[in-house]
Amino acid sequence: MIVPETLLVWTLIGQLIIVLILGGGIVAFFLWTKFRQQKSKSLRKELQSELFERLFSSDPNWKTWENDLSRSERRELQTLLNDSLRKIEGEDYDRLRELASVLGIPERARRNLNNPGRRYRALTWLALLGESVEPHKVINACKENPKLRDAGARILLRSGHPDGPEKGTQLLVDNGTQPLTTMGMDTLYRLNNGVETPLLSDLEKGEIRNWNHSFLVQILLVLMNCMLSRALERPNWLFDLLEHKSSQVRLATVGVLQNLGWQEEIRRKIDIEQLIHDPDQNIRRKSYFLLASWGNETSLEWLRNTLDHEEPGDRFSIVKAFHLHPEGNLSELPDPFSNFVDWVRAERKVDSSRRIWEMSKTWV
């Protein structure tokens, strides 16, 4: 026998015991969690009702309510508050902030900035509540990893601190090697969208030298979406990036150009010839749409210069760009483009009769 029978017997007995314990444990665990879930559900329902009744009353009297709450009620209420703060605005949001204050959430969160195990939760609460925290304290608490940096920058965004946009931008871009999360990109966008654009200052100072390609692409994508507060004072970085060895960087730069294209000085200096003959098809395609967005006779002339492109993907994009150009006329396109023109016209016809107000996604 390759294995002694006694070993098998003991193994079987041991297994039986383990399986029975596991089976019993599963049932017990299930019942316990079900009980907790039902209790939590009914508690939440009651608390939610009370919360909104007080929220919409003339005087919510949070303090009185808070004094009567049990520990588990307090815990559930915090969860409810966390959900509600994300959905409510205006005066009601301010009232919820008062409730958070009565529950001691901001104070605890500020203390927990020094606790690595609770830091992320603390940062999230402070951001949700729009609490004002000194930028240097936020930055000190958040340097470790992208997740913490995102959360810290969000606080600087929501706090309304005068140095918020600049410090928040610095917090997010100083690393330059680890890619931003989508939340990080979103925060960076909001920090730079409108009144100030600290990112532009960084780019003009040459900060990009410290950034890797992926990070740079993300920064450019953010800029592509921002309403920029001012004209570029020193745009050389932009022209340098159009010659970057990474096609992704070049592509994202063309996207930024589309955003900055209203500046005549920039339009004059761009080497359009280089863009519309870039070896990467995505860049050529983006350039056609860039020209369409400029919408003038010069850009239309440039588009006409692309009619010798033979790649089907290029031709398709050229036809779409002609369609988008305010002065473009699909009828002037030569025979080799006829299939593409037919499609664009047919798609336009269907799109115009659709009852939802957005351009088909294939046109971006």
């Binding site: 026998m1 098998l8 596991l22 969000r154 999360t181 989508t182 953010v222 979406n225 798609e347």
Partner: protein, 470 residues
């Protein structure tokens, strides 16, 4: 006689070693899944102060829905997809030469408008007849010649301009938040994430109205419930465990989210395989490793879809035969990745695991069912030893199944009734009696079919997921 005795001794040692290896691997993976679930639970309580619905950086997704003779389910499936909560998506349904009413049903339900021109680019698929857009919703329908599921997916994948695409099956209901959950790894790591997969759950027996699973329940069918137990063990906790050690070589074709550019770079889905989901992910791993591109492929267990599983032995047999033949095909196509360190944990763990355990397992198990009677006939079988060993094997099987049930309750709690949990546990016992043996037999048959070059799909009768209105 001596030779036979030696042969039987050697075989016995082989079976024992293999038995220890397979069960040890499975237990390890199940324990890893507990770690993975705990990590997910640790992250969940703290939602970031960020609303993806308001961000311009959340990547757009094209939901690709290949459909061949899906008339009973296609409208409900599309409606389910339209109710998904995600800021930016479009649905591309590909009618793959259906011979039933699939296209007509879509036309009626969604007021499709034909784009009256030929699509001017060559898509790498069978001929396209027409392309339609819906009037009220973001739905495109591509009507084409039949070319198979991979061909249909390629039509959609090369048509869309969205940066991500999600391949789903027509008989699938996606939970409202599933797409956003599956996209989370892409939001966390937009630069490197290439693919994520969600959990496939069994819809049979659940209360479904308006394309939403209202109430999760077990079916009255023992065959369906055996599959529920399997799905929990293999497709849920098993994949969590493999994902923990970056050894996931498959993302379910019922629900997978991919970076469009990356899949186009490898030429899209292969039309030479009958399990296109498995082969695609292996090829992605291969391509990205060969090009030294850092990447991520993750399993997102909380992103769930619900699908109809076979309710008859013949339909189930067809399905499992196809899966097994597909596994053998994919292994054969990429066999040079096995055991090679340059393919990382995929080459050293994930792929060898698939070969040694999932491919060889049913075959060796089947050989065991032959070996035992032979040994008995020749008088080499110690009955008491055999029964004890069988008891240990069954006990291990029950332990792993029940451990996965515990993981399901701990991490997900989809089944809310104690009676359903007890029934699932019961099937965790019962699957060791005849069901496993039957599956081993199906795998043997699949092996023979594979060697004969059979690449058929078999038929699955669609019943429709919704309860009929009273």
């Amino acid at each position: 006689m001596l030779t036979l005795e030696v042969l039987i001794q050697v075989s016995a040692w082989f079976f024992l070693v293999y038995f220890l290896f397979v069960n040890g691997s499975y237990i390890f993976i199940q324990l890893l899944s507990l770690v993975g679930i705990q990590k997910t639970l640790n992250d969940r309580p703290v939602r970031p102060a960020f609303d993806p619905h308001e961000s311009p950086f959340v990547p757009g997704i094209a939901i690709l829905l290949p459909a061949y003779n899906e008339a009973p389910v296609i409208v409900s499936s599309i409606r389910s997809l339209l109710s998904v909560e995600y800021p930016d998506f479009e649905i591309i349904a590909i009618n793959d030469g259906s011979t039933d009413d699939t296209l007509n049903r879509m036309q009626e339900a969604f007021d499709l408008q034909k784009i009256d021109a030929d699509y001017p680019l060559d898509l790498p698929c069978e001929q396209i007849h027409d392309i339609y857009r819906a009037s009220d919703v973001d739905l495109v329908v591509i009507d084409k010649e039949n070319g198979g599921k991979s061909d249909a997916l390629n039509a959609g994948l090369f048509f869309t301009d969205q940066p991500l695409f999600c391949a789903v099956d027509a008989d699938t209901i996606i939970e409202r938040e599933a797409l956003l959950k599956a996209a989370q790894p892409f939001l966390r790591d937009p630069d490197q994430m290439v693919a994520t997969g969600g959990t496939v759950r069994v819809a049979n027996g659940c209360d479904i109205q308006d394309s939403i699973v209202q109430n999760v329940k077990l079916s009255n069918s023992w065959l369906v419930n055996l599959q529920v137990m399997e799905y929990i063990r293999a497709f849920l906790t098993g994949r969590i465990g493999l994902s923990e050690i970056n050894s996931l070589i498959v993302i379910s074709g019922a629900f997978g989210l991919f970076r469009t550019g990356s899949v186009r770079d490898i030429g899209g889905y292969s039309t030479d395989t009958i399990t296109e989901d498995l082969e695609l992910v292996i090829r992605l791993h291969r391509y990205l490793k060969d090009h030294n591109q850092p990447y991520g492929i993750e399993f997102v267990p909380h992103a769930a879809v619900w699908t109809q599983v076979p309710e008859t032995l013949s339909a189930l047999g067809n399905q499992r035969s196809r899966w097994f033949r597909g596994l053998l095909e994919s292994i054969s196509m990429h066999r040079d990745m096995i055991g090679r360190p340059e393919y990382g944990t995929i080459g050293l763990i994930g792929f060898p695991f698939s070969v040694l355990v999932e491919a060889l397992g049913p075959i060796i198990e089947g050989l065991g069912y032959v070996f035992v009677p032979v040994a008995f006939v020749f008088g080499f079988l110690n009955i008491s030893f055999f029964l004890l060993f069988l008891g240990v094997a069954v006990g291990l099987g029950i332990f792993m199944s029940w451990l996965s049930v515990f993981c399901e309750i701990y991490g997900f709690r989809q089944y809310d009734r104690l009676s359903d949990i007890l029934r699932v546990m019961f099937y965790g016992v019962m699957e060791n009696i005849l069901y496993r043996q039957w599956k081993a037999l199906v795998s043997f048959g699949a092996l023979i079919d594979y060697l004969k070059g059979d690449s058929s799909w078999g038929e699955m009768t669609r019943l429709g997921l919704e309860q009929p209105e009273e």
